[in-house]
Amino acid sequence: MSGANNYIPMWLLAELTYACPLQCPYCSNPLQLPANRKQELSTEQWLRVMREARKLGAVQLGFSGGEPLVRKDLVQLIEAADDMGFYCNLITSAVGLTAEKITSFKEAGIKHIQISFQGSTKETNALFGGTDSFEHKLAMTKEVIAQGIPLGLNFVLHRQNIHQVSDFLEIAQELGAEFVELANTQYYAWALHNRDQLLPSSEQLEEAEAATNRFRAQHKGRMNVIFVAPDYYEKRPKKCSNGWGTTFITVTPEGDVLPCQSAKIIKGLQFPNVREESLMDIWRESDLFNRFRGTQWMQEPCASCPEKEIDLGGCRCQAFMLTGDVNATDPICEFSPDHHLITDAIAAAERDELAEQKAAPLLFRNTINAKKMAEKEN
């Protein structure tokens, strides 16, 4: 398609490994997790990927996973990326982090660290993350701040912890964080599987937003707080990753190249791999990246919609997951013929909370459950 050369993948998300000490039931990694790490890209292969991404103009680099701290070559990768001119962000649970490691990352050139919390107390953090890590996260947050590295805290919200927003904001402020993201779970992969147990009710969501606004009003400007609502409560869909194949490029632990973190759930698409092709060819020439660039691919009601350039039909993953048709309008959109799938889920979320939690346990993200899911699929 013409025009592909005009797009610059400003953001490279390097998912270094799927290995993770946590077991979050809303993880965005695929349900089909590999049984081991044998297929992970080598250090040399990652260095090549980063060099090629820089050539395409990528400037922001996120080291993610899984838990990126699991990779023994993380310092080496940060150092090389910094030398190449990347602005390096580390996205971590802090499990496995130490003061010494923070120092070595800083010396290697890390510019920003994001630490995720799964609950605002020792108990809930352990329950939803599957590790007893709360005190350690607090200690590491302080350490990152003490070492002068810009820090963001990410608190993942869902119906079973969304009432903790105020507590978490107080903790973040006490720690001296400058930036906090209150990120509601979005319903892909493991989160979609657990959606009935995770999607908050409208009342819960309104209360959490109100609590956030009360906090902002009380502590003017000292801490930057962003509240991200679940897409399900929006009237219009979001562009896929700022537009499919326009801004973001994700490389999975095994070298598959995706326009977003979730795209592998779409069946019937071919996913190019950095072991076989250069990143440049993949970004510019591959069917995958060209397939949903622009608006030519759209069907109704998107094709004739006056807002089609604004949201570009929304998220392709969401369309596929919920309707089975990758070309469909994202059901988040109120004009989608499948929008009832969203309103039904929201209606179900208004049920009695405790009864629901008891009725169906959360499926935690781990290799045993991944294996069970794979067997179910086959």
């Binding site: 400003m10 103009g57 400037v59 922001q60 996120g62 602005y87 510019k111 810009p150």
Partner: protein, 93 residues
């Protein structure tokens, strides 16, 4: 909070200022984001690699660009903005 006119400041050491071939312009990179810079912004920020005060900066620029009329006001306006966004921080921080 430093006084940008008289106190020394530098470019935030946690940010990166660099020329991007692919975008054909200078950018400033910060946590999870970037901004494309105007020629004027680049001219100012490149002089902030070493500690400098606003008054010194304006004097330098007036020397290098004699006759640029609203220069002092433009620089002041830029520095107020740059300070509020943490692009520049007190020297030694």
């Amino acid at each position: 909070m430093f006084d940008y006119r008289t106190d020394k400041f530098t470019l935030n050491p946690n940010y990166r200022l660099q020329y991007e071939e692919a975008q054909q312009c200078y950018v400033l990179l910060y946590p999870e984001g970037l901004v494309k810079l105007s020629d004027t912004a680049v001219e100012i920020l490149r002089r902030c690699a070493q500690p400098i005060s606003g008054d010194e900066l304006i004097a330098q620029l007036q020397h290098d660009y004699p006759g640029a009329e609203s220069l002092a006001d433009d620089v002041k306006e830029f520095l107020v903005d740059a300070q509020s966004q943490d692009w520049i921080v007190a020297a030694g921080e």
